[in-house]
Assembly symmetry: C2
Homo-oligomer: 108 residues x 2
């Protein structure tokens, strides 16, 4: 499958307050869309997958390893394999996360 219309993707709740939609994926590449309400948190976690996070909307604080970054829309972050990371929404946020390889655990 090549085409993933946004409106076809079912919202799934994650970490209590986050809403995830799986977007385009195939082979070793996968994109998801995440909504985090103001004050919401993706708690510290890690996985063997590489990740890029792109802030579509809102303002967020992201911690990667020992470093903390303030993200505005358009800013992006790279997370190396098994690197602990977390995100706190300072406003209502919309985020894209991209993974290689695919997060099979999120596709089920």
């Amino acid at each position: 499958m090549a085409y993933f219309p946004f409106s076809n993707q079912t919202p799934i709740t994650m970490f209590d307050t986050l809403t995830r939609r799986n977007l385009a994926h195939g082979g070793k590449l996968m994109m998801i869309h995440v909504e985090i309400p103001s004050g919401g948190l993706a708690p510290p976690h890690s996985h063997p997958h590489e990740q890029v996070t792109y802030l579509l909307e809102g303002r967020a604080e992201v911690r990667v390893g020992e470093e903390t970054y303030q993200l505005s829309p358009g800013d992006s972050v790279y997370v190396a394999p098994n690197r602990k990371h977390e995100m706190r929404a300072l406003e209502d946020c919309r985020v894209l996360d991209v993974f290689t390889p695919k997060r099979e655990d999120l596709l089920q």
Copy 2:
């Protein structure tokens, strides 16, 4: 490097009318931001890298192999390795492209 502020990324012209900014990248994962003016074209091309394209803004027609799709903001497309693809902007577009492995040719 983990943090890639959008405003730090230098615009580079590509395919005559497209403007590319390299965003977060590392290991085997890379994101770029592309602006395509209305009527602009990313001509048919292919590469061994897997790709996901996400339409941030505008409207676009994307061809992947033998299929053509009309993209609205939020829609995304997966392109398998060596699959021919092209994009035509029906309005001024802003696009994210993600690749695995990294497009070293675009980083130079």
